[in-house]
Amino acid sequence: MDIIFSSIINMFQPIILIAMICGVSWGIFVGALPGFGAAIGIALLIPFTYGINPTIALPILAAVYTGAYYGGGITSIMIGVPGNSPAAATIMDGFPMTQKGKSQKALTTSLLASTFGGIFGGLSLLLLAPQLVQVTLLFGPAEYFVLAVFGLTIIASLSGASIIKGLISGTFGLLLSTIGIDVITGANRFTFGEIYLFDGIPTIPLILGLFAFPRCLLMIRDIFLKESLTLSLSDDKGSGENATLKEMFKMWKTLIRSSIIGTIIGIIPGAGANIACWVGYGEARRNSKHPEKFGTGIPEGVAAAEAANNSVAGGSMIPLLTLGIPGNAASAVMLGALMIHGLVPGLKLFTTYASITYTYMVAMIFSCFILLAVGWYASRFFAKLAMVNFIILAPTIILVTLMGSFSNRQYVFDMWVTLLLGIFCYWLTLLKYPMPPILLGVILGPISEKGLRRALMISRGDWTVFLTRPICIILLVLSAISVYYGIKISKSNIGKGIQKEEKLKLKEIKGS
């Protein structure tokens, strides 16, 4: 306890406070830039923190991590482009809220939910790390494969119009993940001799090609169809009402549920915020008295997704700090940062380097309070993005999208990936194929393939291995339930909602 208290006192040192404010601001900024996000934000900052004392450097990185998760949600809400993949689920209700002129409310809901989720995840990290880490040890290859199946069925059931199209998208994503060198046998698959594809389809150009580029094309198309030169926010001047604590308190069940989901998924290596946001969102919709309202622009949808993805930040640190297993790309970069500072995950981190480790863990929580303060004003600042003229915004986003795809590996090839995927996904979007399952498929592909092949190797080709393990059975049952509910929802409420939306669009088109 003494270490925790001394770590809390450390947080009030002016230098750490200022450093964390800068870290959160940088995190929000990088998180909001499409294609960037926590991983790149942290990676870019590592060289600057290398020479700094770890008790200052690690809180800065923790602050970037927290800020970036929130920042990703800002662009999801404001322009319908996720700053990073964990913010993909925020689009579902965040962007419709903006279209309704409630961007300010969506942003503050996102901020408060992010703060809550971040604190919850941080507390879990601080208090439950040694206990919860045992759960991940129960996961074998078969469980990882079934977990991937569960993740895909969840996302397919959330895809709205047709669960089959969601499943096709998800399977197509899995297929894309097989491009590159097979990590088990070393065989070259579907690269057609292109060396840039040996590591598989690069994630950042893929995300931009799936979300950002089609969104730009749709944005420009909308300008022509609607003759509108600004975002559809005619009644929203960026100064609308904020989310209140009372409203947030009404969503306490959703916030706690999503935070628990996010923390647990964060603990499972490889799962990460990309899944957590969808599971959190899906569970909130499933448990809601009005599931048909989800996807139409309600604060609860934003809160569910944001609380889940921000709580992952703390959860993903549990296996990282104890076992050295990164839960996602950002925590993998964080692992590198820890090692640069001479901190090797494991028992020593909690004994020899306990003061630094606890400072870092407390910083994860403390940065949420800083996020609340900075984000409250930053949200208003970013809300003004919505007022930018579309004529300026559209080419700007295209430029940032193409440069964002270049930024990671600095290959022009990655820009081609974004461009070709972008035009392909534009047509898929028009035909109501959901994009998030493709992304999830690509992310889950390596995990699921390794899980499937290793499980079959262990069982000597016996497929019943997936039906004989308790965790697999639970996950398969949950998958079946999510498919069932997905079909039920798409047939009833959401299907009708989409039909209405299509009719409205047709009217708009005819009108213009």
């Binding site: 870019l44 089959i164 499943l167 096709i168 399977t171 197509f172 899995l174 297929l175 097989t178 097979d182 088990i184 046998t185 065989a187 070259n188 698959r189 579907f190 730009c216 094309l217 420009i220 198309r221 300008i223 022509f224 169809l225 030169l229 579309f390 004529i391 300026i392 559209a394 080419p395 700007t396 295209i398 430029l399 940032v400 193409l402 440069m403 270049f406 930024s407 600095q410 022009v412 820009m415 081609w416 461009l419 972008g422 035009i423 534009y426 047509w427 898929l428 028009l430 035909l431 109501k432 194929y433 393939e449 499937l452 092949r453 047939k491 299907g495 039909q499 299509e502 047709l506 088109i509």
Partner: protein
């Protein structure tokens, strides 16, 4: 239910066939890979093919059971809104060509010039009014991002100044 399915059916049918072709292509070329490495992609191609075959079957089921008048009306409405509107197809293709030229030119003429051409041409394509103002904006936007990417993020960006003056 039947009406809803037939609304966007023709174009969807095309996409289902396209996915089937992709699945068959993947299945065939996976024979060039070792059996252990080709197992997963082959499994996925079978799943994609099956799901799309189901949707194709569903389409033809509705095609033969639906009222003829409804089919004609729905199809007419659909084609009107997808293909008769050039804005759905021509504009995205033009934007794609501009972006294609940007990516092609970017390493050859540098970020400043290619970025300017990208931003300016898209702005002019959207709206031709106030061309002079747009010209200045098209200079400012890439300049701003040049500062972020080059100075802030330290990316190895090919610069027009370096290409033409070194």
């Amino acid at each position: 239910m039947i009406k809803k399915k037939s609304n966007a059916s023709e174009m969807n049918l095309l996409s289902h066939f396209a996915f089937c072709v992709i699945a068959i292509f993947i299945y065939i070329i996976s024979f060039n890979i070792t059996p252990a490495s080709s197992m997963f992609p082959r499994l996925l191609s079978i799943v994609i093919f099956s799901l799309n075959a189901f949707l194709i079957g569903q389409y033809f089921y509705y095609f033969f059971t639906e009222n003829e008048k409804e089919v004609t009306q729905n199809r007419k409405k659909y084609w009107e809104n997808i293909f008769n509107l050039k804005k759905y197809t021509v504009i995205p293709i033009l934007i794609f060509i501009i972006c294609y030229l940007f990516v092609y030119a970017y390493p050859r003429i540098g970020f400043e010039l290619s970025g300017f051409l990208l931003v300016f041409s898209i702005m002019i394509l959207i709206n031709r009014k106030e061309a002079i103002k747009k010209f200045y904006i098209a200079i400012l936007i890439p300049s701003f991002f040049l500062l972020i990417f080059k100075v802030g993020l330290n990316l190895a960006i090919p610069l027009t100044i370096e290409i033409f003056f070194k």
